[in-house]
Symmetry: C2
Subunit: 302 residues, 2 copies
């Protein structure tokens, strides 16, 4: 079997977990790790052993898929560069709503032109949760689904806080309040010469936090607060045909970067089975994410 | 919008719930109800009003999909008849394992030849549960998934008991014992001149019951025991990449025929978006099951 060659872009929490997930996949191999500035991430080469660490995908020979372990905001600019080379991309773009729809439309055009596949928002939410929400609506088309996150550190929100001027280090915790409402508990270490109150205001006005009850606390050390466990509890009560009170729940408790990276790697596999274009997870057959002979998989899963 | 015309074959619990689900679907209409012997199901015509009740699909004009609300054991013979006319089929064939794989292979051939689509095992288990199990493996490829059914009446098992010689009426209850093990509690009313012990032995030897702890009780009246509520609790503890203890659960509590019929009707919609062939639910993109404009759906679900 020819193994699919996967490049991992970035080596943060998700990038390094993606390397682990690829190594555990019998049908894939790590083509290399791509960093803008390897000097900024010392020890990567030592950590990954024989895997090449480069600044340009062209140094890696044939690459089938690039797993983009980068901040969501970097995806719209970065993904087209790979797609234009005919390399599939997978990202975990996590800005819900219009931003996903726009990204999908933009990447779809580029992917089709270059005979490539982009799988976007391939984390657990958006991502596998989006698939579960869709399945729940197939069972009960009318009704309300509540998605309750946490308690846990939100990677997207944490990255967003860190991008705000004056923030030296930060962590954003998501606390579920039920019926899809959340508190955001943000712990920040402020850079010298910055005013905490102003930074706190900027955080609360950020699109990631604007619609949630947000509390910002000043701390001297963020590192000691970090636990990357996270969870979700989705609930739907709805109507099948004309029968009410059909109830469904999905509960998950995971180490977040490992789950996100694994979904991205599973999506990399799925990308190789789709026609050129851009896809969110509910647009892909679930079986395409899994390794193995289809009949054996269906025997076990159906 | 041209509505898809759906024929419902059979008018038992699932067939009648399928009619209700189609009526609630903005993109579909009931082409008619097909019964082998309408005289055996008195009052159907009165119950369904203007909807034609016929013995042959040819009496219904153009039909896009036939929803087969029949016993699983009737599916392998019945589905090909519709597929051969270029009509898509949806069934809720619920005999797991080899039987599903064989049915899929058989119907796939026929469907391709006649430019039709068969969606098989489109209930909630097998069916939507199969999709959830697959998504769980995309998140954590290594590990164990336990599917715990009930407590509730199993339609497949009840039909199987009723087919056994000497049984006048019956209901089979599924009681979860955890870690995917179940007790089967079977309540039977025996026909005159049959021996209860012999009937009970035949039930316990049926493939539906052979591998489970099965208790058979004799009752005088089955009807008063019937509650068609049912449920499932699926649990997976597994590994994402090299990170262990990733935990997921799916819990559902539903009126069973309504959920089964709704999934079948959602699958009828999905069948119209697939290429010719036979599909189990994990082989179909979840979004194809849902009614609506794709961008609006993705805005809400992703």
């Amino acid at each position: 079997m020819q193994k699919a060659r996967i490049a991992v872009v970035g080596f943060g929490n998700v990038g390094s977990a993606a390397v682990a997930a690829i190594k555990e996949s019998p049908d894939m191999e790590v083509a290399g790790i791509i960093l803008r500035n390897p000097a900024k991430v010392p020890g990567v080469q030592k950590e990954v052993g024989d895997i090449p660490v480069v600044t340009d995908v062209k140094e890696l020979g044939k690459v089938d898929v690039a797993v983009l372990g980068v901040a969501s905001r970097a995806v719209p600019e970065l993904a087209p560069k790979y797609l234009a080379m005919g390399i599939n991309t997978v990202d975990s773009f996590d800005i819900h709503g219009e931003a996903v729809i726009k990204l999908r439309a933009d990447l779809d055009k580029i992917a089709r032109v270059h005979d490539a596949v982009a799988v976007i928002s391939a984390g657990w939410d958006p991502g596998t949760d989006s698939m579960i929400r869709t399945v729940m609506e197939a069972i009960a088309p009318k009704g309300i689904t509540y998605t309750n996150f946490g308690p846990g550190m939100s990677m997207g929100h944490t990255v967003a806080v860190k991008a705000i001027e004056g923030v030296e280090d930060a962590v954003s915790m998501t606390i579920p309040e039920g019926t899809g409402l959340h508190k955001r508990m943000v712990y920040v270490k402020i850079k010298e010469d910055y005013e905490f109150e102003k930074v706190a205001e900027a955080i609360k006005k950020d699109p990631y936090f604007l619609h949630d009850e947000t509390y910002v606390y000043r701390v001297d050390d963020v590192e000691s607060l970090i636990d990357v466990g996270h969870g979700v509890h989705m609930e739907r009560k709805g109507v099948s045909g004309n029968t009410h009170n059909q109830r469904m729940e999905f509960i998950m408790s995971v180490t977040n970067p490992a789950a996100t990276a694994q979904v991205m790697v599973s999506a990399a596999r799925a990308s190789l089975k789709q026609k050129p274009g851009c896809y969110t997870l509910p647009e892909i057959p679930p079986i395409d994410f899994i390794y193995g002979d289809k009949n054996i998989l269906l025997f076990r899963l159906v």
